[in-house]
């Protein structure tokens, strides 16, 4: 067993303890959450897809949390239009299920738009731009989880939107137990990898 492997193992153990038992994850989340000087109103609220649908056709927890956040912003009067994104899967179309939830919560059907063709954040930016920009909608309130906001915000700004960041979750508030912290750390790591990929691909 080489010294490099032992050092790697030691690093992993220390990293695990730091992530699980210290506020490090919350601090990283605070750093990853955009400081947005812009405040409402927006012309539209755009709720990005979130893990699609469960096997029973219901929204996943992530998708439902974002949907509820978007509905809350609409009811608070942030914008007159609510856009739900969410592609087709074997169990249904996420955007349409979200639209149904919003209608059940009192959002008028005429205020809801859906995008069902985008499968990635980059595709969502492009497809939603095609939908909204012909209607002269430039300023949007973007709803996505906090740790994914910086990448989504830049992707949407790249296609011409002015973005008001309205994260659907506060990373720090989720980090109460070691398991929660590790879960958030995993999502942050995935976002960092995705950010590198988006940068290399020229999406940001």
């Amino acid at each position: 067993m080489t010294g490099a492997l032992r050092a790697t193992g030691g690093f992993v153990v220390v990293l695990f303890l730091v992530l699980a038992f210290t506020p490090a994850v919350g601090l990283v989340g605070h750093w990853m959450t955009p400081r947005n000087p812009l405040r409402g109103p927006a012309q539209a609220i755009v709720v990005l897809g979130g893990s699609g649908l469960r096997d029973d056709g219901e929204l996943t927890t992530t998708s439902l949390r974002r949907t509820q956040h978007g509905i809350g912003l609409y009811r608070a009067g942030l914008a007159p239009i609510l856009v739900f994104s969410g592609s087709r899967s074997a169990h249904g179309i996420e955007a349409l299920v979200r639209s149904g939830v919003a209608e059940a919560c009192g959002v008028p059907r005429s205020a809801i738009l859906t995008v069902t063709t985008a499968r990635t954040t980059q595709e969502e930016a492009v497809h939603i731009a095609r939908l909204l920009q012909p209607q002269h909608i430039r300023t949007i309130a973007l709803v996505v989880d906090a740790e994914g906001m910086w990448r989504a915000q830049r992707a949407f700004e790249r296609v011409g939107f002015v973005v008001i960041a309205t994260p659907a979750s506060d990373v720090s508030s989720l980090s109460r137990s070691p398991e929660d912290r590790l879960d958030v750390a995993r999502r942050q790591a995935m976002e960092l990898v995705a950010g590198v990929y988006y940068t290399l691909a020229g999406y940001l």
Partner: protein, 112 residues
């Protein structure tokens, strides 16, 4: 600070101390054997970490190849599963112990 992390750490400390006392009293193993034990454990965790990185790299590479060269779309988020950590740990343990065993065999044959 929440009570839960402290409770978890306290439980682990208590069980570690109990195992330490039982191990020392048994006189089956050397008292100073904990240093090489920790070193070996860290090495095995290191091997598992390498497997995790390799597994994720293979997964991401395969997904990007499928996206670029076929009409199908596969989400990268399928890799966001704790099971991959467990399987990588298993790989690390098997190949790490195998490696340790072959080291011992080589030394006993005078070739290590």
């Amino acid at each position: 600070m929440s009570v839960q992390p402290l409770a978890l750490l306290a439980i682990v400390v208590v069980s570690t101390l109990a195992a330490l006392v039982a191990t020392v009293r048994s006189r089956v193993v050397a008292r100073d054997g904990w240093r090489p034990a920790v070193s070996t454990a860290l090495g095995l965790i290191g091997v598992s970490a390498v497997f995790l990185v390799v597994n994720l790299s293979i997964g991401i590479g395969a997904i990007l190849l499928v996206r670029f060269f076929t009409p199908w779309f596969v989400s990268v988020y399928i890799l966001n599963d704790i099971t991959l950590v467990g399987l990588s740990l298993l790989q690390g343990l098997v190949f790490g112990v195998w490696h340790l065993g072959s080291d011992g065999s080589a030394r006993s044959r005078g070739t290590g």
